[in-house]
């Protein structure tokens, strides 16, 4: 069995599991509900503000609301993949499913890579489809189109990959439930640290601002999320909000992501993956 074939088989199996276990269905229903609600919300904003908002204010409102809804989607993607990634390794080890599979002539690293790719397929498929649908809803209701939708969606996919890689690492070491909870908990904590850091930045408090920077280095989900927000929001929105003071607002992003940060995020994913592989390879089943 070639490694590539094992990887493809396991990746397809992971996707099939997501479909068969109704994860895809549940996520699709949630997404549709969120799309309908946001469509209604956007159309109410357009109708009730009818003519009272300047075009700049309208774009600001649309940007904030779009980021808000996208945060909802990124949360669904984070929860979905983290809770899929957890059971997929430690759950199968606990139940015994892994025994029969890993006794086949396959490498554990190929199994891990297959699972990872399958989960990425699921997570990124969701983020891209739901995100794109949301952009279209916004365009239809308030006639706003984000400046860099592709970049924004790519960052959201990156955020999902970061979180599911972490969940995969955790699931090689702790129980399925714990790995999902810890991954999602860290995701939330980093987001809050990011908001705290932004408040520090707007107040000119370097020490508080550093909280956000450090947490963004430790777990790049929030950094990528801020990059995605920036690509979704209208460039003039920040000026409209009052320049750098707007930094403190959790659903607008002030600074663009640097190439160095993106490189760090990629390196972070590789390091965590390597740790997960090392831990999984050494595991006694």
């Amino acid at each position: 069995m070639t490694t590539a074939r094992t990887v493809a088989t396991i990746a397809a199996l992971t996707l099939r599991e997501a479909v068969r276990r109704r994860v895809v269905l549940a996520v699709a229903v949630l997404t549709v509900v969120l799309l309908i609600l946001s469509g209604w919300g956007f159309s109410r904003v357009a109708a009730e503000s009818g003519g009272t908002l300047t075009s700049g204010e309208a774009r600001l409102t649309a940007s904030i609301m779009l980021n808000l809804v996208m945060f909802g989607f990124s949360l669904i993607a984070a929860l979905g993949t983290a809770f899929l990634a957890g059971p997929t390794l430690s759950g199968e080890t606990e139940s015994g499913i892994a025994l029969a599979v890993l006794a086949r002539p396959i490498r554990r690293s190929a199994v891990l890579l297959g699972k990872w790719l399958g989960l990425i397929g699921f997570g990124s498929g969701f983020v891209v489809l739901a995100g794109l649908a949301q952009c279209i809803v916004v365009r239809q209701t308030v006639d706003y189109w984000p400046p860099q939708p592709a970049v924004a969606l790519a960052f959201l996919v990156g955020q999902t990959i970061v979180l599911l890689t972490l969940a995969l690492l955790l699931s090689t070491a702790v129980s399925p439930m714990a790995s999902g909870v810890v991954a999602v908990g860290l995701f939330g904590a980093t987001w809050i640290a990011g908001v705290v850091g932004a408040i520090g930045g707007s107040l000119g408090n370097a020490a508080v601002a550093r909280v956000g920077t450090i947490s963004r280095m430790l777990l790049p989900t929030d950094g990528l999320w801020r990059g995605a927000m920036r690509a979704f929001q209208d460039p003039t929105a920040l000026i409209e909000m009052g320049g750098t003071d707007a930094e403190a607002f959790p659903f607008l992003s002030a600074a663009p992501l640097t190439a160095t940060y993106l490189l760090w995020a990629a390196l972070w994913v590789m390091m965590i993956w390597a740790l997960a592989a090392a831990s999984f390879l050494r595991k006694d089943l």
Partner: protein
Amino acid sequence: MAGNPTAVGSDAARRAAAELVAGMPPAPAVWCSGLRKRYGRQQAVENVSLEVGRGEVVGLLGPNGAGKTSVIKMLLGLVHPDAGEVMLLGRPATDPATRAKVGYLPELFRYQPWLSASEVLALHVRLSGMTVPVQERRDCLALVGLADRAGDRVGGFSKGMQQRLGLAVALVARPELVVLDEPTSALDPLGRVDVRDIVLSLKSRDVAVLLNSHLIGEVERVCDRVVILDRGRVAASGTLAELLGQREVRLQLTDLSPAALGRLAATGEVERSADWFTVALSAEDDGRAVPDLVRDLVALGARVHAVEPARISLEERLLGILRAGSGTDR
């Protein structure tokens, strides 16, 4: 260059080496030496070496916690030994490809509950890198009695059915070695007979089987050799004849003359209980001792009511070995 004499020479040498290797008997299906495994402070496996020849059925016996499942998992690369070496079908087990021709039914048998039985088989065939036609896969499910449940989700299967499916998974990729860890733990008596028939049919097709089972009778019926583990060590091993050694015959006799009694005593040690006589037979007996004895007793005027071959059961022998082990060590 074609005319290069050294190239021709090395070709000939290679051919000779290939012929030599081809003429050698195939390497054993399982060979392991000096396996050790410690979990925390618990020494689970201590210096275990064993061998399963091609087409041989070897039973692994021992009490709970003797290290049987740990040994099996180390053979299959599921648990990393602290020390020791494993070869499967002539190749080092550190290379996963070695397991291409190995089928395994784990003690903890669980399969993807969201797949159907035939999908589980298809997955394992794919992972084994083989191509097995659909009909052959169906036959495999039929062999374990799941022909009419092929399309049903495994999540709805009973424990016994999952164990049957596990057996099919172990057999589906045309293995040359099958490792069965407690294959009948969840099966009804009919299922146990099925498993016994399957093991015997594997043996007839020259497939090696390593069978771990608590059911001594099961092991006694199908195994060529037995390895007994106790507290992580090999307590005894050998063929059933070697392990059980001594055989006996029980006779119900009346009208015994002193000459007939003498004839009995000449055969071996005699134990008497009313008119029942238990005579020990020598281990080298070639099968003639009993008919010769009966013929002579009849000639000496004794009336023979019953002749029953008796043998120390594997269970008695196993208990003896385990008790002796705990007697000396504890």
